[in-house]
Symmetry: C3
């Protein structure tokens, strides 16, 4: 009855609690109660009257109803079952049937809103100061970049998406007919800097794939410089980037595209995937909308593959015990797994 | 892998076998086979030719087909697979392929039909005489009361509904917009009498909520006497009551409303909820139908809350280990849990 | 938490790996990738360019994507995630990101195509020569027989269907209104010959049931000779047969009907049921289509019963611990269970 698992999808938790994770986009949250499962924890999110975001455990300690079936009363959350109210620090401030509330509380979770993203800390509050803050991604708040974003629920362990975006050689297969970028056939250079994993691949005077060329108003195949790079910034966040530049204008600002791939485990076999794309060129609303639609088609292709991988793991095929076989193109992903292992080890050490 | 549970929803069975439970309404059962899961046991119910109700284990001991896919032949049940027939006492009386039936039987279950309800005993037959009979509820057979009834399957442990109807302070929240009875804000008086738990709350010369007033043909807010009371009669049955009386006519018969809340576990996380409502006033068919429709709206609200509580328990949130925190308004429910614990202890003692 | 099980549906695997099983009909397989779960193993099937059938484990050893979401490239299977290619012997022959493929492979499975059926061997290759080949069924390749076939997924352990077709006394109950063969009321003669179980039942000068009579152009009830017989040939295959003959023409070739009942476990509680029916008479396309439609109605009735039995086992009724009670009519089925037990014992001995 012990299911088979492989390194990429362990049976046991492979995500740290003591980490900032993305909980939502800011525009998901308003003056009503938003329920989300994050790191296998029920969370209720809302905006206070002053517009800031608050997050509480989504479970009333009285009779265990989800608080999210209740309603906001000012900056307090009123349980929909017996009307208990909880302040934004989790303290019970009112029990309708008695004059003074008992000493009851729910957990509260620190949040930070940065650019379009709302980050949450679901870990041990005693060590929050030792935990790296949400990674810095200047383009998310740089007005030169127009942004689009979206959320997908994917029935797969969150690391499957991390590894997907750390090995772009899948573009020629998963996205062959959508993105039509088929020249990423060699493994990129990989550099590990502490707990950050960088990859980088340069195409000098290389024929522009059609999608890029079209965006720049050039004929497909025009010789151009292109740099594809990215970083595993934390268990929660990965960045992808493409910079295009005219070989004849080496000092000009490149045409840059940026991706934020934030993945937050719902549980061990599902994730919320929060993506943001940004562009400092071709960024009229109409162009950005077209770009986002184009990208969403590709992300749906990724989802189909990752869910098929997870479904195979969930089904636990009998006698399936062979291990994964990694190749050179997996270098960045394998390094990311090691970073995750260090996060987990630190968390376990802090708990012990 | 051990799921979290709280006191109200234990992982292990919290319902006694050695107890009379409601299996069905009499009008559910006729001259065909009705399959029900009750106390995690497959049961097949039918009426004999003389109109009485019989119940057998719904599983042929030959090749384990549900007997309910077969058919009635007189007072015997014929299996739909190979035609074995079982009498209403569970004995196999015919195997088509041989001249005399072998010594095979299925379990049979005693039943009692009282008013609109069919009760069943699924416990140890050796101790049935020591088990309290179905509780006496005279209004169910009192012609002064018009009755309406219904059945709901609720995906929640049966005790969640028990506790729901033992703490009416939820009316102001769950049913605020339907029942509009918002003045039950103080815990009722609770009296424990053996294994019966009573609560009672009196409103003297208090403004009549709109629903009650309308039924009596009075303006909402008319000062009137109202008594809300109820009893946990057995693990299977709870009674609720409201008596309204004119303060100027202290000796007049009150306008009484009665509820029977029978809950029968399907298994540890689901129940069948059999409800009956009765009224000795405003009880023309049209008024009763309107009343039943009104009540059903509220019961659907209860179901939504209870299923949300159970879903949270089923999902077993990680690190969720805090216990329930009870308040004074939970007194009747907490007493009911203690009664259940005594039933379980007696059953375990009888078995040991 | 240990579920109840009965002899017919054990909790543990009751099918041998070291056995030839039916994987598909030949016409299911072409120049694309067909995914099937067989014996709890993910399998991908395809035809090579020369028309022969190949089968591989349906899981890329690189990042565990199902190979079946990829595509055929000549006689190799290309993974849809990163483009790894595998030859029909399972060897990885291409990794796009590097010049030479690493030493990686997937399991390959021997297949044999015989008549309309494709057989597969998913067991230990070291002992394949000691395993009985697919059983010989000459009528499947005899041009005197017209054939029709179909596939059903049934949510039941594969042995439930075996036992169903080994005890035809169910015809009078499950198929009373469809097949209308109600005279099979006595157990047949059963002979065990090594690991083959035969049953046989003769009706001499007996009234022809309507279905048979109609096929022969005779009035229902015409006195005729009929022989119903069948064989449990292997865990994978069972044969059924009916031979009808004119009592006045003892030397004439009988009007024969044949059934192949191939059942392949998907897992312990589901099967693929591959059936073939053949007839050496009344076998114009129109008559055969009508016959197949008629038979399919009956098979749907069997499926309903078997799924009800399995659902009862899956639900694991509490306190249900009584064992199956077999009668004389179960002789063939009980013998088949013993044969299965011998297959399992041989396999365990070979492994030990």
């Amino acid at each position: 009855m012990i299911p088979h698992a492989w390194e990429g999808i362990p049976q046991q938790r492979n995500y740290p609690y003591n980490c900032w994770w993305v909980a939502a986009f800011g525009d998901d949250i308003g003056r009503s109660l938003l329920a989300r499962w994050l790191l296998d924890t029920p969370v209720v999110l809302f905006r206070r009257e002053d517009g800031t975001v608050a997050a509480l455990e989504d479970r009333c300690p009285h009779r265990m109803a989800p608080l999210s079936i209740g309603r906001l009363q000012g900056d307090t959350v009123e349980c929909g079952y017996h009307g208990f109210r909880f302040a934004d620090n989790g303290r019970c401030v009112r029990v309708p049937t008695q004059d003074s509330p008992p000493d009851i509380s729910v957990r509260y979770f620190p949040v930070r809103e940065i650019g379009p993203l709302v980050w949450i800390y679901l870990g041990d509050l005693a060590v929050i100061d030792q935990v790296p803050p949400p990674p810095d991604m200047p383009w998310l708040t740089d007005r030169a970049f127009a942004l689009r974003h979206g959320t997908m629920e994917i029935a797969a362990n969150y690391m499957l998406l991390k590894e997907n975006v750390l090995d772009l050689t899948h573009l020629g297969y998963v996205h062959a007919s959508t993105f039509q970028v088929t020249d990423i056939v060699r493994p990129p250079d990989v550099v590990v800097d502490g707990d950050t994993v960088h990859y980088r691949q340069r195409f000098i005077n290389a024929p522009l794939p059609a999608g890029y060329a079209h965006t720049l108003g050039l004929p497909p195949g025009t010789p151009w410089n292109r740099e594809t790079h990215g970083s595993f910034l934390s268990p929660a966040m990965q960045q992808g980037a493409t910079d295009l530049s005219d070989p004849s204008l080496p000092d000009a600002l490149p045409a840059s595209t940026r991706f934020a791939h934030a993945t937050t485990p719902i549980d061990q076999s599902r994730m919320l995937y929060f993506w943001v794309l940004g562009r400092n060129h071709a960024n009229s609303p109409q162009e950005m909308n077209g770009f986002a639609d184009f990208i969403k088609k590709g992300f749906a292709e990724d989802r189909a593959v990752l869910e098929a991988v997870q479904a195979l793991a969930n089904r636990n095929p009998r006698r399936g015990g062979h291990d994964e076989r990694s190749v050179k193109a997996d270098a960045a992903g394998v390094q990311a797994r090691r970073v995750i292992a260090r996060w987990m080890a630190r968390e376990n050490a802090a708990t012990a």
